[in-house]
Symmetry: C2
Subunit: 86 residues, 2 copies
């Protein structure tokens, strides 16, 4: 594995899993009022476009990392939209 691939893989892993601590905290505390839903709407748009970009470029690392990010950020968005109603 070249240094580029190592750095790219680490970058992809960190940016993909970054939302997990926020999902865990939201589920544990059931409190999300300080979290901005607009951040997650824009993030979902962003990683959604990166996933499309990956398909256009036939680039599987971009498709996989951003596809997982899209799922995780959507989970957080659903938590935000449902918790804020309570």
């Amino acid at each position: 594995m070249s240094i580029d691939e190592v750095v790219g893989t680490l970058a992809g892993i960190f940016t993909t899993i970054a939302v997990i601590p926020q999902i865990y905290k939201a589920i544990k505390t059931r409190r999300v009022s300080d979290v901005s839903p607009f951040m997650f709407i824009i993030l979902c748009l962003g990683v959604g476009f990166w996933t499309i970009y990956g398909f256009l470029k036939h680039d599987w690392p971009i498709i996989i990392t951003n596809g997982i990010s899209l799922i995780l950020n959507s989970v957080m968005l659903v938590i935000l939209l449902t918790q804020n109603k309570e």
Copy 2:
């Protein structure tokens, strides 16, 4: 501009600006207790590695979008670490 470039540019813009609504909300409400600092620590690591990746590949769009993300996510991390002490 090809469709790839349009989609890639939109993806880069959305993922770069996504944290701005959270920074705005944190400054306006001065409340961040529901926001996970670990999310922003991991995000800073991730976009930091993407910035290094951009330098290794001499890819200016990756350097610029992730460099700005690194600055913005660091701002949010500083807000989190200082607000949580109050």
